[in-house]
Amino acid sequence: MNIEEYISSGIIESYVLGQLNIDESLQVEQMARLYPEVKNEINATEKAFQKYAEGYSVKPSPLVKEKLLSQINFKDESLKGKKSAKTIPINKNSSWKNLVIAASLTIAILSTGASVYFWQKWKETKSELEIAHASKAELAQSVNLVNQKFKNSSVQIEALNKQLAFLKDTNTIIVPLKGLPKNPNSLVLVAWNKQSQEVFVNTENLPTPPEGKQFQLWAIKEGTPVDAGVLELEDSFGLQKMKSIEGAQAFAITLENKGGSPAPTLEEMYVMGTL
C-alpha cells in the first residue's frame, strides 16, 4: 500500500466532511497516527474546506446572538474569577513530562492496537475474498498494509523504548512551545536533557511547510539563537532527534528555506517557549 495512493483516494475529504461511518473514520484516525503524511493531509484538507466555507460567510442578524445569550446558562464564577486567576501549578515541567510519557505510552498501545486492528481487518478481508465480491485491488492493498505494519513494528517498538527512556530520565526537561499569531493552534513539545545535551522535538503539531521551506529549531542561549537542526516531519512517531544543545533559556521554531538558515527569520516564528 502506497501512502500517496491512500491520501489521494478521496478518503481524507470524506473523513473531513464527516461522511465516513465509525469504522472507516477509525481507520483514518489510525492511519493519521501512524503516518504524519496522512495527519498533514487531513490538516491541509480541513484548512482548505474552511477557506472554502468562509468564502460564503454572511453575518447573521444580531437577534440570533441576543437570543442565544438569553437562552444559555453561563457559569458566573468563571466570569468573575479572572482577577483571582487560578494558580498555575508550579511543578509545570514535571506535569508536562508526565503528559509526554503518557502520550508515548498511548502511542505504544495504539500501535499495538493498530496491529491487532489491521490483523482483524485482514481476517475480514480474507473472508470477503471467499465470498468473492470485493475488489481485488483493494484487497491487495490491505494485505500489503498489514505486512508492512508487521515488518515495521519491532523496529518501531525499539525506537519507542529508547525515546521513553529519554523522556523518563530525570535530567530531561519538557519545554512546551506555544503557538504564536502566525500559528496560534500549535503546541510543540521540546524535550531537552541537560546532562546528555540531547534534544527531541515532537513535530506533529506543525502545519505542512510550503514547497521549498522547512521548519528549524533554535535554542536561545543568553539572547543568541543557536541552530538545533531542521525538522523533517517524517518521523513515524512525530518525535525527532535534533542537534545536541549545551544550554538554553528558550526554544523556538521558525520557517526557513529548505536546509535551514544560519540565523532565524523572526517574522516566520511559529512557536516559542521559555524554560
Partner: protein, 189 residues
C-alpha cells in the same frame, strides 16, 4: 533579547488558540461563547444559508446549532481535527435535516422569490456578497465542474460515490476532479 521577542509576540497576540478556546468553552465561560460566536457565526451561518436559502429558517438553525455546539463541546476531540471542522459538520447536518422537514417544504413554496443567492453567472446578490476578497479569487480559479463538485459535497452532503451514481460519471473521474479542486483550494494559503 529573549524577553523582548516574547513580549512583542504577546502584544500582537489578538486571538486565543483553539486549545485555549476549547478549554474555556468546557468551563462554560461566557466570554468564550461570545468569542466563539464572533469568530465563527458568519462562516457557519453562510453555510447554513447556502443550504436552506431562507433567512428565517437559517437563523433558527444557526441558533439551534450554537446551542448544540455549546452543549456538546465535551464530544469535540481535538485529536481528530479542528474545531471549525467539527462545528461545520454539525451545522451542515442540521441544515440538511431541516431541508428534509415538512416545515421547510411548506415554507419554501411560499417564499422562493425573495431569496436569490446567485444567478447563473455566479454573481452574488448585493446582500450576500462574499466578504473575503482572497476567497473570491480562489473560487474564481475553480472551473464550473470543480465548483459544482465542491458544492455537492460541501453543501448538499453528497459522497463521491453518490455523485458518481447521480451524475453518471465514473468514480475515478470524480476522485480526480475532487483532487484537482482541493489542490486549488490548498494553494490559497
Amino acid at each position: 533579547m529573549t524577553t523582548i521577542t516574547q513580549n512583542k509576540v504577546i502584544a500582537t497576540l489578538k486571538t486565543i488558540s483553539e486549545n485555549e478556546l476549547v478549554s474555556l468553552l468546557l468551563k462554560k465561560d461566557k466570554r468564550s461563547f461570545e468569542y466563539l460566536y464572533e469568530n465563527y457565526s458568519s462562516a457557519i451561518y453562510g453555510v447554513i444559508l447556502r443550504i436552506i436559502r431562507s433567512e428565517d429558517m437559517a437563523e433558527e438553525v444557526l441558533q439551534d446549532c450554537f446551542l448544540k455546539i455549546w452543549n456538546k463541546i465535551e464530544d469535540f476531540d481535538p485529536e481528530k481535527g479542528k474545531l471549525f471542522t467539527w462545528m461545520i459538520n454539525i451545522a451542515r447536518n442540521m441544515a440538511i435535516d431541516k431541508t428534509r422537514s415538512r416545515d421547510f417544504k411548506n415554507k419554501s413554496k411560499s417564499d422562493d422569490i425573495d431569496f436569490v443567492v446567485d444567478n447563473e453567472n455566479g454573481n452574488l446578490s448585493e446582500k450576500f456578497k462574499i466578504e473575503h476578497i482572497g476567497v473570491k479569487d480562489m473560487l474564481k480559479e475553480l472551473n464550473p465542474d470543480q465548483h459544482q463538485l465542491l458544492d455537492l459535497m460541501y453543501f448538499k452532503g453528497y459522497s463521491q460515490s453518490e455523485i458518481s451514481e447521480e451524475f453518471d460519471i465514473p468514480l475515478g473521474t470524480v476522485k480526480t476532479r475532487v483532487r484537482a479542486a482541493m489542490n486549488i483550494l490548498k494553494k490559497f494559503f
